[in-house]
Symmetry: C2
Subunit: 425 residues, 2 copies
């Protein structure tokens, strides 16, 4: 049977798995650690293939992250893509937020709560499940702090693939319900996310899980590339240029690292010009309850010392962050900074963003906005330079965090007299 595609078949620009530690190269496949030094692997590309991608091709593509397929390791053939409409989320100019924080340059919110399961995880899952199917896996799995669980379970239901999702048993109830509703296997693990992650690494080595793709274990090099689309979209939405400053939340540290990588790739491919003032300056946000990367930054350490996470920003609660050293490097080499904020500051950050922009963020978004405020007040971020702030998730998922005090202004009987007595008329 001849399959007719709406564009010519493009070979993948990915060329190898490359060790981020020692540089050793391996063939593309379901491998995540270097056989030489056990360092983490990432996708390496053929620079000539990336350089062939044009703005026009991207703009003529679908209104989803798959418009950037030419810069991703999988999905070049549209029929192979898991496309749930993820990506191309709004970039919102937040003038009222900028005013309150004393910015004289534009502040933009990249609002990833607009994705299908309302977090940025839909990006990495779209790429990971597409890769898992290409690699021949029959079941999909993940270790998750909640948002990834939602996304994996939903996408598995969408494409009719069995799933098994592992979460800390003490997750927010909304995140448990939103994962269980899709009908896959959901395993609550008594322990922290780091315990869940260790268990998944062990399971991925067992015979019973041989045909199971763990999106953030043995498919991780592909999975992580999905985060690059957060940077690609911002550059395209700004009219094919990079912003001066970026504030991003840090859990494993992967997102921040990949956003910077995405800007570098766009410049290398000739899709955006090198800005006169160089690469975007990267700023990292953590909660005080789990700030191993920000603590290392503050102390000038090269290594990240594991912590036991606490606090309301559960989606960021990774005490042993795999990409911490790379996030440190990204922030240091671009001249940025990091900060951590406590639970009260996080709640205030959620309310500040909602009140000034109409965006209701989950606790991770509260962390990022609160860190933006803290950096601005401390003079550590330049308020005269254009800044992009990533909101990675939806307030409805962590609604308990802000429900105290979020009540009606008044409760009245259904009469004009009631309005008058409440002082509203």
């Amino acid at each position: 049977m001849t399959v007719l595609l709406d564009r010519p078949i493009v070979p993948s620009p990915a060329s190898a798995l490359v060790c981020r530690n020692c540089g050793a190269q391996f063939p593309l496949g379901a491998q995540h650690a270097c056989f030489e030094c056990f360092g983490p692997l990432e996708i390496g590309y053929d620079p000539a293939a990336l350089a062939r991608v044009t703005r026009e091709e991207i703009e003529a593509g679908p209104h989803s992250l798959w418009r950037y397929a030419g810069l991703l390791p999988v999905g070049q053939d549209p029929s192979t893509r898991v496309d749930s409409g993820t990506g191309m989320t709004p970039l919102i100019r937040a003038d009222r937020l900028a005013d309150e924080l004393g910015f004289t340059a534009p502040v933009w919110i990249k609002d990833d709560s607009a994705n299908p399961t309302h977090s940025f995880k839909d990006r990495v899952v779209s790429v990971a499940i597409t890769a898992a199917r290409e690699l021949g896996f029959e079941r999909i799995a993940c270790a998750s702090t909640g948002n990834l669980a939602n996304s994996v379970a939903a996408h598995a239901a969408r494409v009719g693939m069995p799933s098994i999702v592992f979460i800390p048993a003490d997750l927010e109830p909304a995140k448990i319900v939103q994962t269980a509703i899709y009908g896959g296997t959901l395993v609550g693990v008594e322990g922290s996310y780091d315990d869940v992650n260790r268990l998944c690494s062990e399971l991925a080595e067992t015979d019973e899980f041989e045909s199971t793709g763990f999106v953030n274990v043995n498919v991780r090099p592909y999975y992580a590339e999905g985060s690059k689309t957060l940077g690609f979209e911002v550059a395209e939405q700004l009219g094919w240029r990079t912003p001066a400053q970026v504030v991003a939340p840090m859990a494993s540290g992967s997102l921040l690292t990949k956003v910077l990588k995405s800007f570098k790739e766009l410049i290398a491919a000739g899709l955006v010009p090198t800005a006169a003032d160089g690469l975007p300056v990267m700023f990292g946000a953590q909660s005080a309850g789990c700030s191993p990367i920000a603590t290392a930054f503050a102390n000038g350490w090269d290594e990240v010392r594991p912590v036991k996470p606490t606090g309301i920003a559960k989606s960021l609660n990774i005490g042993s962050p795999a990409d911490g050293p790379y996030a440190l490097d990204a922030v240091r080499t671009t001249g940025g900074s990091m900060a951590a904020v406590d639970d009260d500051e996080i709640r205030a950050g959620i309310r500040l963003l909602a009140r000034t922009t109409g965006v209701f963020a989950e606790t991770a978004g509260g962390v990022t906005v609160a860190v933006l405020r803290k950096l601005a007040e401390a003079g550590e971020i330049d308020t005269s330079r254009e800044t992009v702030v990533y909101n990675t998730g939806e307030g409805l998922k962590t609604i308990d965090a802000v429900s105290e005090g979020a009540v009606p202004t008044a409760i009245i009987p259904p009469t004009l007299k009631g309005m008058r007595e409440a002082g509203l008329l």
Copy 2:
């Protein structure tokens, strides 16, 4: 100062306010009832202006409902639009749902949980606030069963306009928090939605509310037009044609009525061909706890007798539906049907949709899917004809409805032994 727009200025195709009862015409403005017969008013258009709109213009427009500005009463000048990225939500081909329900033709889910505040209300609010600003109102208000409250408060925060939102005091907690978080005035009214609506109609006549636009009272003719984009998008997403059958939820009855109107306008404007088998057949969905329109349909009544709403589908709980007679007419003239489903069927509908498509709907979406199933089982909908089903809201907003039983498959210690003892390895 010269303002440069990216397209030529297009005059509004709207020509008058027209009484849906007696046909009397009035100049465009903030009026919602006929001075002659007190009938409801809707927007009338200049047919020649609608006929000038082309597919190419629409396709070159923004990826939001404003691509259809040429078919709407306001927003022709892009700088006047309240554009939060609402619209162009996914149309998902639900093959696994179709299989389970015995459909041999495609079933599509139009998923409006993808809007910024995760319900179709963002459509009517985008149009209503744009109109309210054009009409000179300084504050925005609404009566709401919850989703409209969320959307009005969020959009008001986005554009920096004061808001006052009226809700039944017993709403779902998540909907109260998600409205309060935006910082506007929120009034809980002791009574049903119908009581809240009556109070707002009274308030709109007071001097104190003279400069307040109630989106679904004195701005209602504009507001209601926003729902047409639900039909416009489906036709464009299907490749500029109408579906054979449509299943839509009914609260006031406006949505279903406007979707049919949108298909008629597309045909009249020459944007889609008249299908060989005529207009789409319309099917209406209500919950058993509030089924005044479906009851009138079942009994062959022309009038809709008000009821006192009960049941979990609170966003559909309008006991005295303003557009009920028009919804009856739309369903009868197209040869469709209506049905109502109880709370257990609604919960099963939510789970069925999630499990087969990866879409987590609120109770209103559960109603619509459960009615689809009921109509299919009863042979009242043609399972050999292509069918579009509207999901109007997000499961996270009514999560309590399905939290019972939505728990992990197993809770285990973080060890392989734990996996084995749970029978998972």
